[in-house]
Every structure is written in C-alpha cells, then in structure tokens.
Symmetry: C2
Subunit: 111 residues, 2 copies
C-alpha cells in the first residue's frame, strides 16, 4: 500500500516536478553546465569531467534525455548531446509563473 500517488495531481504539477527531478542531482546539474559551456555538442568528454563511472554518466544522460532536457543523436561511433533549448525555456516560464505569483503576494513574509 505504499504507492506512488503522483497521478492524483494535475498534469502541470507533475510536469514541473518531473523537470525538477531531472535536475535533482549534482551530476546532472554538472552535465548541463558542461553542455552549456561548450557550444558544440559534447559526447564522452562529459565522463572525463565527472567523478563517476562511464556507465553511471550514461545513465544520467539517459534520464536527462527522457525528461526532455537534452537531446542526443548518434554521430558515427560516438554520441552527441545538446541542451533541448525549447523544453528548457518552457520549464523556465512555468517556474517563473509560479514564482511571479509568489512575488506579488508574498513579498513580505508572514511567519
């Protein structure tokens, strides 16, 4: 009886949470940073910058890809990853919307 009740929330709540979850690990933040720094698509160089095994990094990349934060295409013998700019922007807007509400109403903390 200890189940995931996530379906009981609105789609927007679930989407925001899923996006946040994709960023909820320092390794994945670091990956996004690397992808942001090097404009051209990076592949296994990511592995070199992280204190993790290749298989673990590959898994994190997969999670980011599944969540839609990055795209990945096979480029010959190697793989090429990039930020999914559009999805990232959508999330940022969504987040700012929530944030804007807070700003208007809660500028002065109440407790």
């Amino acid at each position: 009886m200890a189940f995931h009740k996530k379906e009981e929330f609105t789609q927007k709540e679930q989407d925001l949470a899923a996006f946040a979850k994709a960023m909820a690990h320092p390794a994945r933040i670091a990956i996004l940073k690397v992808l942001a720094q090097r404009n051209e698509c990076v592949c296994g160089e990511i592995v070199d910058t992280l204190p993790l095994a290749q298989s673990t990094v590959s898994q994190h990349l997969k999670e980011l890809k599944t969540a839609g934060l990055i795209t990945g295409t096979i480029d010959g013998p190697r793989s090429c990853y990039c930020i999914n700019w559009k999805a990232f922007s959508t999330f940022n807007n969504e987040f700012n919307f929530l944030f804007a509400n807070l700003k208007i109403k809660n500028e002065k903390a109440c407790c």
Copy 2:
C-alpha cells in the same frame, strides 16, 4: 559500494540540486502553490487540498522546510507555514544564471 558521491561536486551544484530535489514531487509543488495563493500562513488546510494522509503531508512539509523553501512556526495548537521568499529568490537567480549561459550560447540547437 553504491554510495552517494554527491560530495564530490561543487557546493553550488549541490545546492541547486538540493533545491530542485525539494520541488521534485507534485505534492510539494502543490503545497507551494497553496502557500502562494493564500497570502496568510496556512496550516492543516494544506492537508485538505491534497490526496494524501496527514502524516505524509507533514513529511513533505518537513522536507520543504529542511531544504529552506518554506518556514514554519508553531502557532498555538496548529502550525503555520510560509514561503521562504529570500531562499526562493536566491535559487531563482542561481537557476537564471545557468539559464542565461544557455541562452547566450545555445540559442540555436546543434543536434
């Protein structure tokens, strides 16, 4: 040997990840939304708006509080929760910093 290697990342990466993690559940997004809507501090009314048991909600509130996203004070027999505006703002800046880097460099996707 399946250990948390989180310490091996920078403090900023860890902080950003921790903040994202706090929002990485629809219930916690929903809680933030409720706190944003009602300007005055809300207590157990949160429980009524969620499809979860009281103890579970209390746990989510604790996580949000530990992560610094909300503050909570005991107000007589009930508890009063509020958005931690300052921390929220700090996170937003941090996030926008990462995001800004992306915006400048990656406006056109490469793959």
